[in-house]
Amino acid sequence: MEEKDRKKHHKKHSGPKADKKRKRHLNDLGLGDDEDARKRNPKAFAVQSAVRMARTFHRTQDLKTKKHHIPVVDRSPLEPPPVVVVVVGPPKVGKSTLIKCLIRNFTRQKLIEIRGPVTIVSGKRRRLTIIECGCDINTMIDLAKVADLVLMLIDASFGFEMETFEFLNICQVHGFPKIMGVLTHLDTFKNNKQLKKTKKRLKHRFWTEVYPGAKLFYLSGMVHGEYQKQEIHNLGRFISVMKFRPLTWQTSHPYVLADRMEDLTNPEDVRVNPKCDRKVSLYGYLRGAYLKNKSQIHMPGVGDFAVSDVSFLPDPCELPEQQKKRSLNERDKLIYAPLSGVGGVVYDKDAVYIDLGGSHEEVRPNHELVQSLISTHSTIDVKMASSKVSLFMDSKPLGSEDVENQEFMMPKEEKQIDLKTGRVRRKAVFEEENDDGASDEEEGQDEEMSEDEMDGSEGGDGDNDVEGENDKEVPGQELGLRSAKRLKREETTEETAVELPAFADSDDDLEMRSGEEGETDLDESKEEAEDQGDEESDEKESSDSDSESSMVPTTDSGNCTAEEASESEAEGSSEEEEGSNDDSEVEESNKKGIQSAPEKNVDGVEWAVSKAVEDGDGDDDDDVENLLKEEEEYGEDNDFSVDTAGALKWKEDLTQKAAEAFLRQQQSAPNLRKLVYGTGKNPMLAEDADEEDDADEELGGLFHVSRPDKESKQKANALDCSKFPVETPQDWDLDEVMNSIQDCFVTGKWEADKDAAKLLEEDEELYGDFEDLETGVVHKGKPAAEGDEDKEGKEPKAGEEEEEKKKRMDKKRKLKEMFDAEYDEGDATYFDDLKGEMQKQAQLNRAEFEDQDDESRVQYEGFRPGMYVRIEIENIPCEFVLNFDPHYPIILGGLGNSEGNVGYVQLRLKKHRWYKKILKTRDPIIFSLGWRRFQTIPMYYIEDHNGRHRLLKYSPQHMHCGATFWGPITPQGTGFLAIQSVSGTTPDFRIAATGVVLDLDKSITVVKKLKLTGFPFKIYKNTSFIKGMFNSPLEVAKFEGAAIRTVSGIRGQIKKALRKPEGAFRATFEDKLLMSDIVFMRTWYPVSIPAFYNPVTSLLKPVGEKDTWTGMKTTGQLRHERGIRLKQNKDSLYKPIVREKKHFNKLHIPKALQKALPFKNKPKNHEKKAKPTKDQWRPAVIREPHEKKISALLTALGTVHSYKIKKAKLNHRQHLKDYLKRKHKEEEEKFKRQKEAKKKLFRIMGQKEKKKQKSSLKGSGEREK
């Protein structure tokens, strides 16, 4: 046995060893170590034929250009999202086993049950999200749309199954992802030969489906219920080095394959109405394109929704830090699969949770911290809001954690010190973040707080008063709150640093600090609590964020500008004056001193807190002093406006001088941004503000107590003009003013690198001497400053040398550029140029926002692919949560502009050749188009030669046809597929049709033929009166001039309506009609398409029944179910056609004509012969037997005689033939003989003649003799 297993020796065909061997072999032949063959044997490579050379050249060029694709800008993110690997195959083929083995291969972890996607780190630069795809066609369709790589499992012992082909066809329609086949169950083959054969057969079939040469992997057998380690390892290698082609749909739409779902609905709402719509947050890696907040998305199987909020979270399955090593550290081999309960750490918007596993739940640990932690966990899972309330109940502040926190934060804090202002309150960042977490829980208090603030603001500048008031009112919950925060903070120790910026807010800074001091000053904590309330309200409105340097004044300044802007523009968008952030030059704007009264409320609170802080701690005194100083400044600034104009008068000026104001404001960049966009981070808030004025006042009422209504309205109805009038024209007669734009003209001064004179100078230096041939002038380059050098001595020499060096380098660079330009661009093709352009654009795209932090990047670009995002969605049907099954993929597909709308979609459609039936117009069918699966009612049509769309009752058998349906607008060029039903399984192929979207419209052009018939009731020459086609003269009037035709083909035209029979008309024809003729007119009647669009909501079905969705039934199905037989129209039944024999009358020629005819043509009068007379009539002869005998004998004799004669004749003929033959032979012989004789004779005669001649020649002589 062992011997059998041993591998046979294989010779190496490649690699260094093989090379060496080959070389040796060549050496042996005497060819070795020589240069290449071209040199060795130049004749073999010489040009033999110019024509053939041209041909080969053409061919190579053809092949080259064939390979070209239209270059596209490479928009792939720098840190790409995990590759989606979909494992697909029929049941019991080994999908789960393969996934488990792969996970084990990459992470050394064993997963018992796999639910939903599993994300793993597979290499230094690659992560994988592996997901299993069941046999439900819904799942197959959804996953084919998001797959990057498909592992297609095939049971080799069985061969291909329908699911495999269905999936392949789905892939083909929705952009073809990479597909790798995997053959399993190979160990069932006992016979090696059969195994080989099967492999080959399957491989070739697979190739025809995918592409020739597609990779098909063999998993030869199982060891202890797992695939062989080495094979899995190889498969893993294949996967992790695979390259992917960008797919159009995927790169143009953002999408998320959700790996976690949480229900955020208010538990009270659920209690009141268990079927209320839910609010849900979904987590996953963003893929494809940039996702914008508030955009439309589609969840296949659920429906369309608007994203209510998006935020990005730290990556739960990060790629390892850049490292030199080739392989990954054990530590970096992460796995993240929350739906399967793997991953340990779970990130949330504001906290991090650690999964402690099931074992901990039973034995409740005594430690309070852990206990509360567990409770937190459970709450998040179930109901967020409620959990948080419960959190406060039994926890207390922990001093030790505070200390920890402080230590942890120190480095961070130091970074954030602003040198100018010296406001070092960044510590708060952490606290703030925690507050934030807590804030949600405190909803109940919220309103109270806001009321407090209102009071404060009304009280004017009286900080202390406000403080006092608040003190009294603050509920005693801070303790609980605080402890909860602490808890969370502890959990987040590591992550906080990353998350922090998201919630940094100025108020919090202060508050945070005080918290950190951990000092138990009761007043302080109360204030804090109150502050938190404050912040909560802020944050609800604007989820702000931001970098280290955002400080109290930042907020303020942001506010003022925002306020100002909004007022001046009369856009009601200034709801979130508060939530601001922003880095950098805020101070400037403050100094400008545009302060608004409404802001005061905020300021007031802040100041109060800061003062309290001052009391509390000594360390931060300086800071606080700074703060206070600033506040005073504010105060002064404000005084003016407040004093003079009361609450809101300061705004009057602004509206009138809007142009001036913003010109001034442009001085500092962030101000401009704020001016335009306000301070809210949340882009939609502005619009929300617009949406409802009333709601406006209720919601954000506390922040804009009173807006000058009159002014804003006036502005809202102002003149709509794009011109930008000059408010304060400058005096263009003044020289200074004129000089200010002098350089905008070509006549002005140019920049150094563009100035012609300078360039010329440089060139001169570069090229030195030259002679102008035309004029004969000799230009000399500058002598290299020899004289100067001598004079000046050595001191300046060093500097000069450097300069020289620089100059030389410049010169070199320039020369090189010129050289490059000359030689590189010479043979650049159009394609190269285009590619270069795209590359440049890609570089620009990458570089533009590279240096910015994610928070601000997200605003400009949207969330970029590769980020781990949390998406909140509201108004999701409760069934989605109640019937949640992690085995089914949840996909959030982003929709482009107006892709959420519906309209008429025109398609080019072809029935799938494997589908057994043809499709019927008006039968509901399920389409998979874009992200969506939906049922709709298509109409099939075909385009006539003149562009008319003619309705078809059925789709053609083997041809393309058009189809139109009412449904979601999807960009042209998108592929689709159609299936009759998504429920259950049939042995047949399920994909009914495939095709592509051609056009989108809001109206349809499909028509069907309608023939109107009528009958003539009066016929003149070419004019006839026709009735029965119309019912009224009005109808006739509409069709005047229309072409009509008879069945026999006589063409005509409708002229005018007749008065008498209603609806009759006069018509003219090209020939006279018969009364029996039927007249008809061809018209085209536009069909209407039912506006039926029914998304397949398969994910809302109960668990286990998700593949049983049924929508509208076809009439055929209904009839079949209810046993209703179709009533046939009697007229449309086929009957046997009976054709009666046609009887023609005799031709009658009039007598006159007969007379005139020539005799030849005259009808001959064959008079009928009379009956034969008796004498003519002869009776039959009946013979006697004797006579019969005689006659029989006679006939026999006659026969014999005739036979004899015949024989004799034959004989004679034979004889004659022979005779002739003989004769012929004799003749020939005779001829031969004669010829011979003649020959002889002629020879003799010739000789005689010769002799005679000779003799005559001689003879004369002789004679003469």
Binding site: E571, K715, D720, D743, F745, E848, P971
Partner: protein, 373 residues
């Protein structure tokens, strides 16, 4: 049901064009309330109604609902259709008012647009067709909207109050736009202009030209101002005259300025010399503001950048006009797009006022109306 996206709601008639145009392009319905609700004559004006009618003409399947007083407008956009159209604009506003919006929409139609607009060609409020022709069209060309069927022809001139002018605008359709990097305006190499006069003495145009040149000649010698005196039927129904100037730079930036005489029977008569001088000064102001796009076309360039592919586009602008600022806000609410706005401090050498560098990533817009075969 593919839920119809939530309608955006606004108050007041200001920026009506922006809202309707963006709504059409983004496919989001829009609702505008309280249109002149508190005024003597509430509701939409003639010219606005005419604009809405124009939008209805170029689209297919849009739904427009206006309440009885005309103070509330609901607009649910259809698909842009285009084709050969005619439209009679209201003489209260000039054709420029309508044309500005058509410039935004025309590249995204189903069929190439060819529209005849009738009304007032030049007035004192809106950018005139001359200036749009000289500045907006080259701008569109930068985005790849080009070709034979791209023209703006003034066949008749009409001055307020009665109008009678006629303009033919034709634009080809595009599926996608090119991103632009337009950050260097270059230097002004020539100034061109048109001094027009209708139903007044033809000498007036010459007088305008002379006075305008007197100022501009100090800066650059390459100035040519055409005099355009229309007669007969092509001169409209009211008398008037005016001047439009355009400065062209080496990098293909066009900065425009214009002035028109007071309409007949309104205000005092304007001297042609004075008008020429003032217009030249306006052009200098525009040059002072500078940027790669002049102040009237700022919103157009920003829109086309937004509608580009998912690539970075950049443009350098002069100070943002209030209209542009509002437009940026609207862009954010309709397309969820924010521009990166950086101010470029003016350099030491005199090149006019401060500039603003606008950067954005396009939303990957593609023309959903265009048919593929």
């Amino acid at each position: 049901m593919a839920s119809q996206p939530h309608a955006l709601s606004y108050v007041g008639c200001n920026f009506l064009r922006q809202r309707l145009v963006l709504s059409t392009l983004s496919g989001r319905p829009v609702k505008i309330r309280k249109i002149r609700a508190k005024e003597e004559s509430p509701g939409l004006r003639d010219f606005e109604a005419s604009f809405i009618r124009l939008i209805d003409k170029v689209t297919n399947g849009s739904r427009i609902e206006i309440n009885q007083t005309g103070t509330t407008l609901y607009y649910q956009p259809g698909l842009l259709y285009g084709g050969v159209l005619e439209h009679d604009c209201s003489p209260h506003r000039s054709i420029g008012y309508y044309l500005e919006s058509l410039l935004c929409l025309a590249p995204f139609m189903k069929h190439p647009l060819r529209i005849v607009l009738r009304g007032v060609t030049n007035d004192q409020v809106d950018p005139s067709v001359d200036v749009l022709k000289a500045t907006a069209l080259p701008l569109l060309k930068k985005f790849g909207i080009d070709g034979e069927g791209f023209e703006l022809k003034i066949t008749r001139r009409g001055m307020p109050p009665k109008g009678g002018g006629e303009v033919i605008f034709a634009c080809p359709v595009r599926k996608v736009l090119r991103p632009i990097q337009f950050t260097d305006p270059g230097k002004i190499k020539r100034i061109r202009g048109t001094a027009y006069s209708v139903r007044v003495s033809p000498q007036i145009a010459n007088r305008i030209v002379d006075s305008a040149r007197s100022i501009l000649n100090k800066f650059i010698p390459d100035i040519y101002i055409y005099t355009d005196h229309m007669k007969g039927t092509s001169s409209g129904k009211s008398p008037g005259f005016g001047l439009s100037l355009v400065a062209e730079t080496t990098n293909g930036t066009f900065l425009g300025a214009e002035l028109a005489s007071n309409p007949q029977g309104q205000g005092t008569a304007v001297l042609p010399e004075e008008l020429g001088l003032n217009c030249a000064k306006l052009l200098l102001e525009e040059i002072y503001r500078g940027g790669c796009v002049d102040s009237t076309n700022q919103s157009l360039v920003l829109l086309l950048m937004t509608l580009g592919q998912q690539d970075v586009s950049k443009v350098l602008l002069g100070p943002l006009s209030p209209y542009t600022i509002e437009f940026l806000r609207h862009l954010r609410s309709f397309f969820q797009i924010m521009f990166k706005i950086e101010t470029k401090p003016s350099r030491e050498e005199p090149q006019g006022g401060e500039k603003v560098l606008m950067t954005c990533v396009g939303i990957g817009f593609s023309n959903l109306s265009k048919t593929i075969k």
